[in-house]
C-alpha cells in the first residue's frame, strides 16, 4: 500500500468466540466476527459493499460465494492468498479500494475452524512443494521447519531458549487479562523450558494451539467512525517469497520495506507504543523485531533480556496474548494482532489497556513454502485524535 490514508481507515473491530473443537461451521465463526465488527463500526449489513476474506478452509468457497452466504451485494471482493500475512495485506488493499471508489465500506474477515489433527492435515496438503518433498519425510508440519529455523538462529547468534521464553511468559501474562484466550493458566519460565518436546528445539509452549475462531474489521471513510473510535493506517507494506531460494532464512522480508514503512509513517520503531507481531513461534516474533528495526540482526536475545513485553512492559508485544495463548484460528491468526491493535487504539482493551496509547505496529507472516513462511506484511496504525 505504501503511504497511508488520511480519509479511509478502520472504524470497527470484532471477533468470534474461540473453541478448541466443536461441530460449528466455518461460516458460523466468520459470521459471528462479522456481526461483532459491524456493531463496533455502527454500521449495518446494507452498508457493506466490499468483502475481503482470508481463510485456509474456505475453498471451494471464496469471497464471492461467502458474499452469497451472507446476503451481500458487492462491488469489490478480495480473497487473501498470503496465509498469516494476508489479513494485514487485506486491510491495506481494502483501504485503497475505498479510496479509489471501488467500495464504500469493506468487511475484512479472517478465520478457520481447526483442531490439532485438522492442522496437520492442512500442512500435509499445503502446497505442491511440501506435498512432494516434505510430507513423505515425516517433516512434522510447520513445527519441523521452524525448529530448523530456531536452531539456526540459536547457533548463529547465540539466542537461547530462556531468552525466547521471556517473551512467551510475558505473552501468557497478557492472555491472563484477556477473557477470550483459550490458554490463560499461569506459566513460569521453568514451565516453558521444561515442557514436552515437539520438534527439538521447539517444545509445547513454542507451538500454537490450532482452534476455531474468526476476527474481523471494517474499513470505510473515517468520517463514519463512531466518535473517538477511528483508526488510520499511516503506512503498510507486504513482500512475498524473500529471500528467493533460501530454505530456512533468519529474515523474512520485513527488512526490505522497513525503512520505507517508517518513512511513510514519519516515525520509527522507537515511536511504536506496542507491537502486535505474528507469533506462530516465539522465534518468528524475534526475527520480526530484528527485521522491523527494534534491534540489529542477531541481537534480539539482548533485546529480550533488557525488556518486558506485557501490556505494562517496556515494549508491549501481543497485548492480548497472541496466537500462542489465544489459539491459532488458522488464517485468523493473521488478524488477531490487528484486531487487538484496533481495540487498544480505541481504548477498549479492558483490563489490559495500555494507558494513553495512540499508535503501534502490526506485523503479519505466513504461507509456509518449502522451508519457511514466504509472506510478510506490516502496518502502522494511529488513533484518530
Amino acid at each position: 500500500m505504501g503511504a497511508g490514508s488520511s480519509t479511509v481507515g478502520i472504524t470497527g473491530c470484532g471477533h468470534s468466540i474461540y473453541l478448541k473443537k466443536s461441530d460449528r461451521t466455518l461460516f458460523s465463526f466468520l459470521a459471528e466476527a462479522a456481526r461483532d465488527a459491524l456493531a463496533s463500526a455502527g454500521l449495518t449489513r446494507d452498508d457493506i459493499d466490499g468483502l475481503a476474506v482470508c481463510s485456509f478452509e474456505l475453498p471451494p468457497d471464496n469471497a464471492v460465494t461467502l458474499g452469497e452466504q451472507f446476503g451481500l451485494s458487492l462491488s469489490w471482493a478480495y480473497l487473501g492468498t498470503a496465509g498469516g500475512a494476508g489479513p494485514v495485506a487485506s486491510v491495506a488493499n481494502s483501504i485503497r479500494a475505498v479510496e479509489s471508489g471501488q467500495a464504500k465500506a469493506v468487511l475484512c474477515i479472517a478465520g478457520d475452524n481447526y483442531d490439532v489433527s485438522g492442522h496437520y492435515r492442512l500442512m500435509d496438503r499445503f502446497n505442491k512443494a511440501l506435498i512432494n518433498y516434505g510430507v513423505p519425510h515425516g517433516f512434522g508440519g510447520a513445527n519441523g521447519l521452524f525448529a530448523m529455523i530456531q536452531r539456526k538462529h540459536m547457533e548463529t547468534y547465540g539466542t537461547t531458549r530462556a531468552q525466547l521464553g521471556r517473551l512467551a511468559v510475558d505473552m501468557r501474562a497478557n492472555a491472563r487479562a484477556n477473557p477470550a484466550a483459550l490458554l490463560h493458566g499461569a506459566m513460569s519460565l521453568d514451565d516453558y523450558l521444561d515442557a514436552r518436546v515437539i520438534a527439538d528445539p521447539l517444545r509445547l509452549f513454542d507451538c500454537v494451539l490450532p482452534c476455531q475462531g474468526a476476527e474481523a474489521v471494517v474499513v470505510t471513510t473515517l468520517d463514519r467512525a463512531p466518535p473517538g473510535k477511528g483508526v488510520r493506517a499511516l503506512a503498510a507494506r507486504e513482500r512475498h517469497n524473500h529471500p528467493v531460494g533460501e530454505l530456512t532464512p533468519l529474515r523474512g522480508g520485513w527488512e526490505l520495506f522497513r525503512d520505507a514503512l517508517y518513512a511513510d509513517a514519519g516515525m520509527g520503531p522507537a515511536d511504536m507504543q506496542f507491537v502486535q507481531a505474528y507469533d506462530d513461534y516465539p522465534i518468528m516474533v524475534a526475527i520480526q523485531l530484528e527485521d522491523l528495526g527494534f534491534c540489529p540482526k542477531g541481537e534480539v536475545g539482548r533485546l529480550f533480556d533488557a525488556n518486558s513485553f506485557t501490556w505494562q512492559g517496556s515494549l508491549p508485544v501481543n497485548t492480548g496474548g497472541g496466537q500462542l495463548s489465544c489459539g491459532q484460528s488458522g488464517a485468523g491468526g493473521g488478524m488477531i494482532g490487528l484486531v487487538e491493535a484496533v481495540r487498544q487504539l480505541r481504548h477498549e482493551g479492558g483490563e489490559r489497556q495500555i494507558a494513553n496509547v495512540s499508535r503501534g505496529l502490526v506485523s503479519g507472516y505466513g504461507m509456509v513454502g518449502y522451508g519457511h513462511g514466504l509472506s510478510t506484511s506490516a502496518i502502522i496504525l494511529e488513533r484518530l485524535p
Binding site: A129, G138, F139, G140, L145, A147, M148, E246
Partner: protein, 132 residues
Amino acid sequence: MTPAYPQPGVDLDNARFIIAWRERGRLVLQRCRGCGAMIFYPRTMCPGCWSPDLAWVEASGRGVVVSYALVHRPNHESFNGEVPIILAEIALAEGPMMIARIIANNPATIRTGLSVKLVSDVGRYPLPTFTT
C-alpha cells in the same frame, strides 16, 4: 500394521528425480542449460533465469547438515514408531539446499556441519534420505 509412508506426487516435472531414487537409490538434480545453475526441488523452468532448458545430472549424494530438527510429533502416523524423525536442511555437494531426513541410531550424534551421504537401501524411503 504400520501404514505406508506418504508418497510424493509424480508428474512430468519431477518423474526423473522420483524414479531415479525409487528404482536406483540415486539422487538426480536439474542443471539449467541457460545459466548453469543447479536446481532443487524439480521445476518446470529455471527459477534463476527462466530457461525451460533443464538437464538432469546425477549428484554425488553427499552433503553437509546446515540445521536440523528432531521431530517427536510427525505429521503422519507411519512415522510414529520411528521418532524422533531427524529432519535436516542439507547443503548438497553440488550446491542446492535440500530438506531431507537423516537416519541415525543415535539422534544425539547429529550436529550442524556434519557430513552426510545417501542411505544405501534402495526402495525403502519415499525420497532421498541420508545417513552419517
